[in-house]
């Protein structure tokens, strides 16, 4: 009968540690290839605006570069981004840097902190992250 077998399984589980992963106390490593936080490499970008046109949610806006070059560069709003990586796919010069970092928890009272500029050679900005939930 199947009933005693289930009881045996339940008794075994009494002495094992819980199957639930204790996130966020412990870091969880996702499988390789996970679609995580992505940034733009500002020096490779040519300003073609393809990523802004193709984005399904309209999370990318193009801003003018200050200075003499009349080129545009993309600014990503992580509050609207769905991490589908369509921008990474259509970029003709592969200017997007991908990673497996988990996206931050968005706070809607501090929306401006999650609108992020590209990484240029001199400065290296990081999006604002909250330490505790």
């Amino acid at each position: 009968m199947s009933l005693p077998k289930l009881l045996g399984e339940v008794a075994k589980n009494l002495f094992k540690k819980p199957a639930t992963l204790p996130f966020p106390k412990e870091e969880i490593k996702p499988a390789p290839g996970y679609r995580g936080l992505h940034r733009v490499d500002g020096d490779k970008c040519i300003g073609c605006s393809l990523c802004a046109i193709e984005c399904p949610t309209g999370a990318i806006t193009m801003k003018m570069r200050p200075g003499d070059k009349k080129k545009r560069y993309p600014v990503i709003d992580y509050g609207k981004c769905i991490f589908c990586y369509r921008c990474v796919e259509v970029c003709p010069v592969k200017a997007y840097i991908v990673s497996e970092e988990k996206p931050p928890v968005i706070r809607f009272d501090k929306k401006e902190a999650f609108i992020v500029e590209p990484i240029f050679k001199s400065t290296a900005e990081k999006p604002a992250k909250e330490e505790k939930q």
Binding site: A19, A31, G33, I82
Partner: protein, 390 residues
Amino acid sequence: MSKELKVIEIPVGPQHPALHEPIQLKIWVDGEEVVDVKVVAGFNHRGVEWLAERKTWFQNVFMCSRVCGICNTVHGTTCSQCFEDLGNIEVPPRAKYLRVLVNELERIHSHMIILAIMAEAIGFDSLFMLMMRDRERVMYLKELVTGNRVLADYVTIGGVRRDVSKETCDKILKYIDFIEERMKFYKKIWGEDPIVRKRLVDTGRATASQALSHCFVGPMLRGSGVKSDVRRDYPYAAYDEVPFNVITYKEGDSWARMMVRVDEIFESINMIRYVIEHLPGGPILPKVVPKKLPAGEGFSKSEAPRGELVYHAISKGGMKPYRLKIRTPSFTNIHNGAFLIKGAHVADVPAIFTSFDPCISCTERVKIIDVKTGKTRIIPFNKLSKLKKL
């Protein structure tokens, strides 16, 4: 015990993260027997068909994947196939096999979650916990292949977005062997356990002619003995080359519908093994995929875990569709299947309703309104099945 007429109203809020269709059931009860039922839907209406007329073809594929969380890969596949049918775009053979791989992984995890939810609805909590723990291996496989546990975003117009490596294939085979061992254990419980059989056999019985005239689809139709499966009748992707059996049970009750799902998991496991062994070489995308599609009509069907999914697109040429019609299987099954609840006991309502695979929250509260005296009682949905006498 009192003999009053009572009305049960189930107000629903979308609280369960794994489920996607908030719905309201109104049941009129005489003593312990259900006399009439009415389904009230529309709590989660997002206007996807209206939005689809305002987005480009590629943006639509991403948006339509988010119609359903549990079967998002199938929605992406069918949407891409509909647009490929409209524009006469050829899909390379390797991409077709990879689409089959991801769709079958989706079927396994979707069937495991509805089996777990049915176990909870009839009160078998340990089976619910064990099945959800084993389902996590399938979610890890999905993350390995597509990049995300739930929302895959894997299929695009013309092919797929990522390739699989040899290490990924070996890992898939190893985990699939583990899932098959566990499913053999679960099949014995679902098939022979006396508690499960006493709750599910002979509840919500539908004959084959009733199932056909009420237009059931998917495991609901196959659980009543009708041999109909979109993968065999109107094949898409690589299903004309991958061998499989169409599972039917002739009883037509809730037990038969759940056993169809248990057996389909074994068929999916064999299909995944065949796909990995016979994966053809070549590219995963054609050389050029146009951004503008010509005028015409596109139609595509596929077999989601819950039934038949239909996409019908009408275009007048250009960057956006003129009209996109999406028909999900749960829409037909729930509205048309509500008549099965009539004549059943109140305590059997969760067992019947969950066998439609409706994906509503299982921890919802049920409001019992006494029509004759006006008294109301609030009872959680999963405790409803434990009611012996009202």
